[in-house]
Amino acid sequence: MNIYVLMKRTFDTEEKIALSGGRINEDGAEFIINPYDEYAIEEAIQVRDANCGEVTVISVGNEEAEKQLRTALAMGADKAVLINTEDDVENGDQFTTAKILAEYLKDKEADLILGGNVAIDGGSGQVGPRVAELLRIPYVTTITKLEIDGSDVTVTRDVEGDSEIIETSLPLLVTAQQGLNEPRYPSLPGIMKAKKKPLEELELDDLDLDEDDVEAKTKTIEIYLPPKKEAGKVLSGELSDQVKELVNLLHTEAKVI
């Protein structure tokens, strides 16, 4: 089975966000694999182990994403591809990323493509369904279970807390929701092996794309931080009095009840 995983490098969830010069300050920040993409990688490895085949992890970004791609290889993926846009594209958006990924994937005859349901930084959840549409294959988002039998696929999809059991078939793109699996940690031998696994680096040219083909359709004009929340009032006294006071405050001062 020919399996691809879409992977985004992102800020560690522990990081506080600071701005410098109107942009997110990345200096000294830790980066990780987007947590939902970890589920996608884990699932891809499990599907491969059960059905044979190969797992290729792809990321659009700059050369710093090599580190996260190596981590994916250490987890057990077979190959990695970095599509490096650093020198070609200045302003990109989800249109850009999806177009590049789809252009790469269009002649790969992928049976299964997995991604995260959302990137915890950009947060749009667009890239997976966009790629599927560009490739004209079906997709199911926010999945919590994947069962493959030949080319028949049964997926469980989380829909705002309810579960849909969906029947579909390969080729297919799915996006991972939390609960899909427990992503493994790279083992030491895995890390050693990963160093020798292929990591291919491509640029837009290699995909016969021009900067114009992938020009963003949207533009960020400002980034700002929310007003800092001040610590409020910690109540004191008898517990029953505190509870009464709280209800009163919510009713008369905060006026939310």
């Binding site: 800020f11 522990e14 506080k16 966000i17 939902y36 989800q94 249109f95 915890i120 930084d121 947060g123 749009s124 959840g125 667009q126 890239v127 369904p129 966009r130 790629v131 549409e133 079906p138 997709y139 926010t142 989380d158 829909v159 705002e160 807390g161 309810d162 579960s163 849909e164 059991i165 969906i166 029947e167 579909t168 939390q178 609960g179 963003a216 359709k217 949207t218 533009k219 960020t220 004009i221 400002e222 980034i223 700002y224 931080l225 929310p226 929340k229 610590a231 009032k233 910690v234 109540l235 517990l239 505190q242 009464k244 709280l246 209800v247 919510l250 009713h251 905060a254 939310v256 009840i257």
Partner: protein
Amino acid sequence: MSRKVLVLGEVRDGSLRNVSFEAIAAAKTVAEGGEVVGVLAGEAVSALGAELISYGADRVVVVEDAKLSKYTSDGFSQALLAVIDQEQPEGLVFGHTALGKDLSPRIAAKLSSGLVSDATAVEAAGGNIVFTRPIYSGKAFEKKVVTDGLIFATVRPNNIAPLEKDESRSGEVSSLSVEIKDLRAIIKEVVRKAAEGVDLSEAKVVISGGRGVKSADGFKPLKELADVLGGAVGASRGACDAEYCDYSLQIGQTGKVVTPDLYIACGISGAIQHLAGMSNSKVIVAINKDPEANIFKVADYGIVGDLFEVVPMLTEEFKKLKVHQ
């Protein structure tokens, strides 16, 4: 510049969701005086057209087909694309719900358009339509404009005020017949797990439990409090990981982001990933037995104490208040 803007009316259990009325309000801003056209897709939904109009839509186009009885991206995208083809809009607004998140990127890809997802505000400023949206799960915000083509956005529930309902408004409800072709993914079964009643992402009050709740049973007092306040129950990842509750309740950077009027955190320490999902709530209350817990740093009001004592007392007090109202 006035624009024609389509708004998808989302139906759940036979009623329109609030977020659709909020989407109409957003569409009015995008339209800058142009026409706002509601779109309904489903099996028997045309009766809901009038309600979209009472919330500000100028008219409504309905696509009805048995194959649209449940949402599928194949079915709904065929319906929507047919309406878009007929109406040739300059703008498109959906709710940022499970349905909107699933469908909007596909339509955007099909139309080669941009898409601003999860907008929490929209304004017309300096000749542009400017959307505000959270990034890094609410640790920061960005303002975005569409630079090319269709102005397409999804709006986060609970953030943009709907227009006042006016049942005297009138408008045409027309139907468009669309042949819905093969669905490549078929829903065999829906397992209802979500608690009856209020949806977490749309709730005005959220009562959230963490590892301090200690067991699945420990969520019961929280549910009782939520019921009294007409709210929903949420959770930290700590509580989900410990299997006290389903992951669908998780709030935070890798869960839902909520912005209710009132958020009550019970037995939650306040890890940065949790704060990302709730710190933009209007009023935050923390109940924790550890006075040093981080959650108190973002709480408007805090009670240091055992949640199993405090929560039932709160429920009783709110009951009394409701009786007096």
